[in-house]
């Protein structure tokens, strides 16, 4: 790890002032990803600005039924919060499906949004990686890519975004609030992440001097849930995950939100599938048609082609369970 200067910011104004003044500085919250990356010399900040003293730890109910979550709320706290468990089970379940209890106790909401890919070639300094060293090539495309992206990929990068929480936030139409010396702005989560294209090293809409201060989630009335499919029962990244909310009235889909994890460089909002579903009968046939529509443009590689079928099956299974629940169909195993 490269030696670095450490600054602890007492308030938001100081934090954004320091980051604006230091050309190679990083905010540190829980540090669960940044410190790993620094140990591997992938991130080499000259200055680390500790923001854990900032007053961004509240979870507040918004007028109109939404919730505002401070950027420094710990993942475990958010998952366990009554408002989240009762109104947004999809979010609570997604967080609890990620990492380990110890990591969730440290990780913050803002840091979770900014997690970087776990592509092994990104992590290995001896490998070629356009995300780590722009223009150096991509060893993942011809290498081990079982856990890589099938949607929104480019010839320069097929890495996935690793977060579970963000998949739920994508389904929930969340908004990210960011602040800098230039002021405050709100970025819809849908616009927050960039696809790799020819610039996989540019991952978000965040400017280098901006601080995430909060995430806002609008009201949700539909039943929701999160389904994560992985290689072991805990502590593994998603091969595919599905965040879904589904309202069925008289056998017809009247509201649906669907997002996928493990399949793209960003939490993937499944708009195509939603368009197929809205107004359609809540049946396995509709779910399958919607899933096929979403995965239609997917590009598989020898190791990860299975994800295309797996994503479709997981979408169907998740929607079926939500639909059965809203129809009052008996206990599911």
């Amino acid at each position: 790890m490269k030696p670095f200067a450490y600054v602890s910011a007492p308030d938001v104004a100081t934090a954004v002032r320091v980051i604006a003044a230091e050309p190679n500085a990083k905010f540190i919250g829980g540090g669960t990803n940044l410190v790993d990356l620094m140990r591997e010399d992938i991130e080499q900040p000259d200055t680390v600005v500790d923001i854990t003293r900032l007053p961004l730890t509240e979870i507040e109910e918004l007028p109109g039924g939404g919730v505002r979550v401070g950027a420094l709320v710990r993942n475990s706290h958010l998952a366990a919060h009554r408002l989240i468990r009762t109104r947004y089970p999809v979010l609570s379940q997604a967080i609890l499906a990620g990492a380990s209890a110890q990591l969730r106790n440290m990780a913050t909401v803002g840091g979770n949004l900014l997690q970087r890919t776990r592509c092994p070639y990104f992590y290995d300094g001896a490998a070629a990686c356009n995300k780590r060293v722009p223009g150096s090539g991509c060893d993942a495309i011809g290498g081990f890519n079982r856990n890589h992206a099938v949607l929104g990929v480019s010839d320069d990068c097929i890495a996935t975004h690793p977060s579970d929480m963000c998949v739920a936030l994508a389904a929930l139409d969340a908004t990210v609030e960011v602040q800098s010396v230039r002021g405050l702005r709100r970025v819809p989560l849908a616009d927050f992440y960039r696809l790799p294209g020819g610039t996989p090293h540019l991952e978000t809409a965040l400017e280098p001097d901006e601080l995430i201060t909060a995430v806002e989630v609008p009201e949700l009335t539909a039943p929701s849930s999160y389904r994560k499919v992985r290689d072991r029962a805990s502590y593994a990244f998603a091969l595919v995950s599905v965040a879904a909310a589904l309202e069925v009235t008289d056998g017809v889909v009247t509201d649906v939100r669907l997002a996928l994890g493990g399949v793209a460089a960003k939490p993937w909002r499944a708009r195509q599938a939603e368009a197929v579903l809205l107004g359609a009968p809540a049946t396995d046939e509709s779910f399958r048609r919607a899933a096929e529509a979403e995965l239609e443009p997917a590009v598989g590689r020898p190791d990860n082609t299975f994800k295309i079928e797996l994503a479709q099956r997981t979408i169907v299974a998740t929607l079926r369970r939500l639909s059965d629940r809203s129809l009052g169909v008996g206990r599911m195993a």
Binding site: M1, R146, A233, L239, T314, A317, A333
Partner: protein, 764 residues
Amino acid sequence: MTTTETQSPPRERAVGQGIDRVDGPEKTTGKARFAAEFPYPDLAYAALVHATVARGRITGIDAKAAEAVTGVLSVITHLNAPVLKPAPARSMLDLSTMVSATSVNYLNTDEVHWDGQPVAVVVAESLEAARRGAALVEVTYQEFPAAVDFAAEEANAKPQKNSLLGAGSAKKGDAEAALAAAPVSVDLRFTTPPHNHNAIEPHATTAIWDGDRLTVHEGSQAIAWMRKHLALRFGIPERNVRMTSPYVGGGFGGKGLIWPGTILTALAARATGRPVRMMLTREGVYRTVGGRTPSIQRVALGAGQDGRLTALIHTSVTRSGKVGGGPEQVTGAAGHLYDAENILLQQNLVEMDLIPNTFMRAPGEAIGTFALEAAVDELAGELGVDPIELRMRNEPARNPLDGKRFAHRMLREAYALGAERFGWAERTPEPGSMRDGRWLVGMGVATAYHPSVQFTANVTARLSADGTVVVRCGFQEMGMGGATAQAQIAADELGVPYEAVRVEYGDTDLPTGPMAGGSAQTASIAASLLAACAKLKGEVLGLARRSGDSPLRGQRLAGVEARDGGLYRLDRPDSGESYEAILSRAGRPYVEAAIGAESGLGAVAGQVRFMAKFLSDQRRWVKAACGAQFCEVRVDQDTGEVRVSRWLGVFDVGRVINAKTAASQLRGGIVMGIGMALSEETLVDPRNGRVMNPGLGDYHVPVHADIPPIDIHYLDEPDPTMPLGLLGIGEVSITGVAGAIASAVHHATGKRVRDLPITLDKLL
């Protein structure tokens, strides 16, 4: 968790009881001092720089940036390293030569033989400075073509020759012809991936030089052999090296050989004149410590309509490194498990430009029993016979290959008991016929099998006048409970309470013990300890007989028993004396017995005696631990996720010394087998030979949530040919696990997955 550590022990005896491990309190309170925790006032820290090419020559090393890091003391490379003598050639006449993991003369050569080989060591005042320095060392290479793609190298594999250490091939009749003629047959190809070691304690060494004397604290499974190896490499007498290994945080075979980290820590200490500590990073373990070979296996079985096997063929291709490693007994179990008329076994080996393979819990058998047992299950399916019934129809009375006697064999009993306890009768045979909601449920069985061996062990035992006993033997304790088990044995043999026995181990200053490997340590030490205890009793009885006042006067050893802290006549149980009385009267503070010959001619003679017994045992009997593995899996109908929901292992491991530690060992092997079956796989990039998942985040060992309740049962029937009747238990329980799971997955889904690990993509 429901467990069965039952088998109520005979009254008062320590052997058989589930006694807590003697090292438990030290470990749970943090007092236990592991290899990387020995404090020295002047301690420096080391970190490795790994090669990033599989085969080549170093053309340049730029250490300037590393040397400029505050706290860095030295960057040691092949340009400035102290001279190391080459590793000794391996020889059966000196088993310590087996401890060489590779033939590479680290930092004494510009040659690179595998991606990950250490090419520099950075020594610094702090761990952080050492690691920062290591990251800044720039190495350039001239690259040479390298053989790194195992699948592509299959065609270059060569048949393994038979040797004293293991059979590369075996044959009975004409198995290919019998297979072709068999009314029912299967002929299948299986593959297993490489696996890496993930002990909780990464490999660690602390090395201190005092003149030409070297002390090494090491997490080791073979301190005596490593000591000798280090003496050879550094050109000093063996007596000048002391290795201690009081606690080892898991070994599983990965700490059985001497890997570069150990040697380079000693070298760094010599080069800098400072005590040096190096704990490998988890990545460092993957890059510098070998693992389990991958394999390609063929199992072909032919049978009559009655299910009697007429042909059994098991062949394998595995890999070693060009600079070390060797064959693994992949087809070993196939020669002992089924009474086939015609048998053909052949192991093939290809040498590659990768880190050499090494021991990993049941090397060979763990993966061999996957293919063999999965194939037996497939044959059962073809025949429409229950898989347990098929095994019973082919259970041999004598060793199928050569008609040798089994020293001990209770597979029938194991299956009968297991079937009853597991509820095998509730299994409906049709694949896909058992469901629970969205889960497809399957049940599978497989046979576990691991051969038993013994090494020599030097042991001294001292019985003091106060009735306490000290047993001294330089063996290794990796968490299995070895010290506890030997104390239980000594307590019973000498008739003293378990608490009165102290066992000293893990230090080359002690009498030389066996290596901890081959499931052999407990039996090997027990053999010498039993002899030592007999000698002690004889000496005490001799003292008593010489005294006119002793009630034991005129008694022979056969006529007395040791109990209640003394010797008592068998014919008159109230007549006898305490050790205290006998030794006090004789004016002796203690008596001591030593078993084994430590040096010079004695050592050579000991080695010859060992080989003679080894070979004679091999001629007379087939010795092995075995068992029946039962599992239930659940497969998600939509996603193909496999979860193991129930496990029962019924084992025939001879006499069990400690019910608690034995059950833990057996359970641990099953856990490791579940990882092998469902998730573990080292990703070696076939383009360049680089391991791409060197860490616990990407290399998936099972987590707690993957492990169901594991019910362990053992038959507790002593083996008549082994000391105290005990068979090794360290490895047998990993064998058969993957075969049972593959069979259960088939039962649940109707799909046969013949390539490990059984990940969900193979079931979609």
